[in-house]
Amino acid sequence: MSQDISAALVSKETLKALRAERRDWIAGASALARENKKARKAVMDRLAVASATVPEITEATGLPPDTALWMVASLKKFGEVVESEKDGSFYRYALAAEAAQAQEA
């Protein structure tokens, strides 16, 4: 996971000391990043099949609905997911790349 960050004007010794000093924070952040990655992949995999509403994403991924919505909102913020058409009381979400392709076609 760790990369060469010597170009960031921090010596290897300083970095080592920082890693030791922030050990608990790093462990917490790493656990969070693993969870994020898993949830992100589950949502992206479901949307790769077809656009979906939050309840449909929940059903396919097993994520709680509020977590699924939170992940969709986060992915939307970073341009990976877009809102699609309205479906009853919900909106459908689609992968941004596929939505762009569909629009071009």
Binding site: M1, S2, Q3, D4, I5, A7, A8, L9, V10, T14, L15, L18, R19, R22, W25, I26, G28, A29, S30, L32, A33, N36, K37, T53, V54, P55, T58, P65, D66, A68, L69, W70, M71, V72, A73, S74, K76, K77, F78, E83, K86, S89, F90, Y91
Partner: protein, 442 residues
């Protein structure tokens, strides 16, 4: 302008919200060198986080952003963001502000705000700037129109993976940055420290924040904002478009059990404003406001309230007793209807609590300024000069002196700037620039 570790100014404004910015701009416009000290990573305060303002329904960021930009680019204004004020001392020579510059873990002189670090960071945490409804990265620009547009790293959620440093085109990441003490000396100070909302966790009858789809009014502002977390109003528990939305007024005010026995003054009008915005964005939704009294005291406020009623927003005169989680994500509101039905209940898809307004700054041990019984900074001449405090040369502006709406806040901030300018003129015997003008006439 760049900020330095020890600096001397004519005036220092503590708080970079709309009150602080207005005061700073008014002072700087008169030629006074002014420092603005802000605890957040961006100036703009609460107002830049709002969707629209009442009663005009103007876009809040369209009013605030130009003032933020004007302050940032003003030659007489120096901004200090992400700073904790440690001490404000007043003596015969003026005001001295000691503060700690918290580390951003980014060299702000090098950061160009490109957000490459943010896009590549692998850690997502709830974004409080968006009410917690979406995620932000451990390293990020605080929000889209933040000033300064500089990244900051949340070191408690950083795993030191190095991705941000790797992609930064200007090598601005500084993982080993430390807090730095700074000191500002000035002749006068304006306290414009704003407010915080009381917590939803302080009221067990309203679920202590554990009932899904019960949110506070600032979270609703984010749902209504065009650059909000969902881009529209959705129910946070499952993304459903809400059919029925309720407002619980005085949820954290006029309630001695929460330590807020006073009226927060602007909740009635922002609830009416949000209800009107909701009826525009969700025309088929039922919107109900449970209230004890509607306080529509400002210019055109009563008309605004009457317009809301005419738009079909239901006003129920009732004190809500409790909230409970209902079926399918609904929230059950139990209340006593004061116009006839007695104790009853109703289910809503989304409930907004109008929480109380608390002082944004506890000066105890930091600044020897007098406080009122409500904890807000006390004005010694509330009717004649509301910005005058018991500390000579130290003035107060905006909600720091007590709950008030944006119109009154801006007016009072202008008044505080004039009081400070008057004080500075009395000290020197001359207005700034007067010496230059005199010499040019000679």
């Amino acid at each position: 302008m760049d900020s330095s570790k020890n600096a001397v100014f004519d005036a220092v404004v503590i708080g970079g919200g709309i009150a602080g910015l207005q005061s700073a701009l008014d002072l700087a416009g008169q030629g006074y060198k002014t420092a603005v000290v802000e605890k957040d990573a961006s100036i703009g305060g609460k107002m830049i986080r709002l969707s629209k303002v009442f009663p005009t329904l103007d876009c809040a960021s369209c009013i605030t952003t130009p003032k933020m930009a004007a302050a940032a680019h003003h030659e007489n204004i120096t901004l200090y963001t992400w700073c904790d004020v440690q001490r404000v001392e007043k003596d015969a020579t003026g005001v001295s502000v000691s503060m700690i510059q918290r580390p951003r873990y980014v060299d702000i002189d090098k950061c160009i705000g490109c957000r490459k670090c943010e896009y590549n960071c692998p850690v997502l945490v709830p974004d409080t700037e968006q009410g917690g409804f979406s995620g932000r990265k451990a390293i990020r620009i605080p929000f889209s129109n933040a000033i300064p547009q500089k990244a900051l790293l949340d070191v408690e959620n950083c795993m030191l993976c190095g991705k941000c440093a790797d992609v930064c085109p200007t090598k601005a990441i500084r993982y080993d940055q430390k807090p730095e003490p700074r000191r500002i000396a000035a002749k006068t100070a304006i306290l414009a420290t704003g407010y915080e909302l009381s917590s939803v966790t302080g009221k067990p009858q309203y679920g202590n924040g554990d009932i899904p789809n019960v949110i506070d009014s600032l979270q609703m502002e984010r749902l209504l904002a065009p650059h909000g977390p969902y881009g529209r109003v959705l129910r946070p528990s499952d993304g459903m478009i809400p059919d029925s939305i309720a407002y619980v007024q005085c949820a954290g005010s006029r309630d001695a059990s929460m330590g807020v026995s006073y009226c927060s003054r602007f909740c009635c009008m922002y609830a009416v404003k949000q209800a009107m915005l909701l009826s525009g964005s969700l025309p088929l939704a039922d919107i109900t406001i449970y209230y004890m009294d509607i306080r529509a005291f400002g210019k055109n406020y009563e008309q605004f309230y009457q317009n809301a009623k005419a738009m079909g927003i239901e006003f129920v005169k009732a004190k809500v007793a409790s909230l409970d989680a209902g079926q399918g994500g609904a929230v059950t509101v139990r209340y006593e209807d004061q116009t006839g039905e007695g104790a009853t209940s109703r289910d809503h898809d989304l409930v907004v609590l109008s929480m109380g307004v608390l002082p944004g700054f506890a000066p105890g041990g930091v600044c020897p300024v007098g406080l009122g019984p409500d904890g807000f900074i006390q004005s010694v001449l509330p009717k004649l000069s509301p910005s005058v405090t018991d500390l000579e040369g130290v003035f107060v502006a905006g909600v720091a002196a007590g709950p008030k709406d944006i119109v009154d806040t801006i007016t009072e901030a202008g008044a505080a700037a004039m009081q400070a300018a008057k004080y500075l003129t009395a000290l020197s015997g001359k207005a700034p620039g007067a010496a230059n003008k005199e010499s040019s006439h000679e």
